[in-house]
Amino acid sequence: MKTTIHARKLLAILCGSIAFVFLVGLACNSAAQTQVPTAVVAMPAFPWPPPKPSAIASLDLGASTTLSTAKLTLGDIDDRIDEALVAGGYEEKSYFGIPGGFARVTRIEQINPDGLPDYSNRWIPEISGMSIKEFSLSKYFEALFTAPKGHYRIFVFMVTSNLIVQSGTPVSRDEAQDWIVEGANKLPTELRSAPYTEDHSCTVYVYEFVQPGYGEQAEQNVPSNITGKEHLERAGLWDKLEE
């Protein structure tokens, strides 16, 4: 008789415990679902000092006629860069924090050896066949007899009040092409509203890579065969940035 009473008590305690655990779990779950994440995600940092570029260009954005009259912020400078980049076909944004400012990176693009974008295969990071649309006999014979090569480029716009001294070591294509997905989608408000002073400058680092054949590792082309300014001109950015 006593054993039966004990067994019933034990069963009641067990059922009660299960019900308690279930209810607590349910409460925690619903609380987690309604909770709004409040943690601030830090802006990713660009490798600093920056890797050795293939070419460099300096932009005088603060002195341009349309911007010089107003009290400039880093946001205004970013808008100016954004306008030029969007016009040039670079619509993806990737921002990094650098000491004293920010860096903006473009997606890796396939270019011709002369620096003009290879429009038919621009966003393909692999050696591509010649397109019928852009057929020319000189290009055809060049491709028929010479080794197939891939040329790629990434622009990094750095707006900072600090000195920029590059690290001296080149960067691999795999590492550099990940910058576009590793960066932030926009500038934080505090950085956007920060004033663009006389100490600030906008420097463009051009990273150019050459793939010597199908399936082969692309190497950084240091120095590039053309200057940083020529890279910007041929990408259709220079005129927009210097307007």
Binding site: M130, F145, G213, G215
Partner: protein, 140 residues
């Protein structure tokens, strides 16, 4: 309708010699300019195995007939001659296309050449059959 065998063999040999010279020249230039990197030898081996058997047969038979005193006694059906000529031209153009399409495809040139063997081998068989029929025709 028949035509002198030696005349046909001369034309056929001319087509083969000219075609092979062009193909070898293109392959050589590609190798010299580094189109295949370090794999140039593989391409030359592939090309020679595709053209040399038929080229040597055509030139050998022509040479043998050229040494004969009476050259135009043997006749051959014009239809067979035209068929052999057409197949020869098609075969040589096909080999040329294997080089010509390389800039248009996004694949390593050596792979394009090697994969084409799957079609070149049976084509070569058909080519040999036509040449064999042609050379065994003999209307006096």
């Amino acid at each position: 309708m028949s035509i002198a065998m030696f005349k046909c063999q001369t034309r056929l040999m001319a087509v083969w010699v000219v075609g092979c010279i062009i193909l070898l020249l293109v392959a050589w230039l590609q190798i010299v300019f580094g189109h295949y990197g370090e794999n140039g030898r593989d391409v030359i081996e592939w090309l020679l195995s595709s053209i040399i058997p038929i080229l040597s047969l055509v030139t050998g038979v022509w040479g043998n007939n050229a040494l004969k005193k009476v050259k135009n006694a043997e006749k051959v059906s014009k239809g067979i001659y035209r068929a052999v000529l057409a197949v020869s031209v098609f075969y040589l153009i096909f080999l040329g296309l294997i080089f010509a399409i390389q800039p248009m495809v996004a694949r390593p040139p050596l792979e394009v050449v090697k994969d084409s063997s799957l079609i070149v081998a049976p084509l070569q068989g058909v080519m040999c059959a036509f040449i064999g029929i042609f050379f065994t025709q003999n209307k006096k």
